[in-house]
């Protein structure tokens, strides 16, 4: 009987240890998942310095396509997976425009959106911001309904070959919480209330795009490019 209880006890210890290890890796811990207090955001100059989008394409391009997006918003997922690839092909890869993504997590309705924005920025430290950006949107339905998305976010990093210690260290910290908070504030200052919101910037002027389908954005960009061309002539 003693041996029987020893075997049962060993299985219990091993089982509890394994489950605790798996669940513990998913605990939010010190990961900042909400906006933080950032001093000076009322000053537009400070805000402009702190708010940082992530860009792809030629920074010298005449036109900038700006998206304010939320990783947990289904519309943003649709935009990232169907519209953005077309924009990349047509405008970004041809050098006609650059694309800039600003985080605008709708924290009132999307519990993991702020953390997702930070996770993507941490992925940027690994040199794979855009790969992770797409990964988050591709798997949106898988992680957005979870009680905690930490494990899922770490898993996507692992799948992309990140240095897990570095990535986990970044995710479970407050790194980039200030930038994401500033981006949210910038969006609010620009009057953005929903996501995805697309703006076209050229010659220092911002123009909102009505509709986030490819055709609407294409027409807006072509119109802006014409104006830019006319202004040069």
């Amino acid at each position: 009987m003693t041996r029987f209880y020893l075997i049962l006890g060993t299985i219990t210890v091993l089982g509890v240890g394994a489950i605790s290890w798996v669940v513990g890796g998913n605990v939010l811990g010190t990961a900042v998942s909400d906006p933080i207090e950032v001093e000076g955001l009322d000053d537009m100059q400070v805000l402009a310095e702190l708010a940082q989008g992530v860009s792809s394409g030629d920074t010298a391009a005449a036109v900038t396509i700006i998206e304010f997006g939320d990783y947990q918003c289904p519309g943003c997922g649709g935009f990232a997976l169907s519209v953005k690839p077309q924009l990349d092909l047509m405008f970004v890869q041809t050098g006609r425009a650059q694309f800039v993504f600003y985080d605008f997590p709708l924290i009132a309705i999307h519990a993991h959106a702020f953390l997702a924005a930070r996770a993507a920025r941490c992925a940027g430290d690994e040199g794979q911001y855009w790969e992770y950006h797409q990964q988050l949107f591709r798997n949106q339905s898988s992680w957005s309904g979870r009680q905690s998305a930490v494990g899922a976010f770490l898993g996507y990093g692992e799948a992309l070959g990140f240095d897990q210690d570095t990535f986990e260290g970044c995710l479970k910290s407050d790194k980039y919480a200030d930038v994401v908070t500033a981006n949210m504030r910038l969006g609010a200052e620009l009057g953005i209330s929903g996501t995805p919101t697309v703006l076209i910037e050229a010659q220092g002027q911002l123009r909102p795009v009505i509709g986030v389908d490819f055709q609407s954005i294409e027409e807006a960009i072509e119109s802006v490019l014409e104006d830019v061309g006319a202004a040069r002539d």
């Binding site: 049962l8 091993l14 669940v23 998913n26 898988s142 494990g151 898993g155």
Partner: protein, 155 residues
Amino acid sequence: MREDAADLHTPPPGNRMVIAVLAMGGFFVALYLMAHNVGLTGPIVCGVGDCGTVQSSVYAKVGPIPVSAIGVVGYLILLGLACLGVQPIHRESSVIGAFLFSGSLGGVTFSGYLTYLEAFVIEAWCQYCVISAIIMVLIFLATLPEIPRFAGRAS
């Protein structure tokens, strides 16, 4: 009471000890799947097969209840019965034997149905479900020596 006194000198039934050990193992396998189902873990760690497809299929739940939760409860019941059945006063208990046999029969039938779904409906395998099904079959086999206990008592 005379039966209880006699039981004190009976060695613990080996098959019930085996059932307890197997049920404990099955309990943790089901618990891991349940932790995943309720969102307490990250992506499911699946060395063999396609656990994600199986766990996200409509068959992963019975109504609002995850199948893994049914497994957790089932294994706990079998574990409890087996542990009770090795105690000196219950070693010859035909009632516990009958419950162990019928419980494992239900478990093995349910596992068989889930394995059928994996093979022919979902067309994907989850290694944890397969491990659980194997454990349940072994538990069922370990309950077979109970049949003479309760069948003899009934006749």
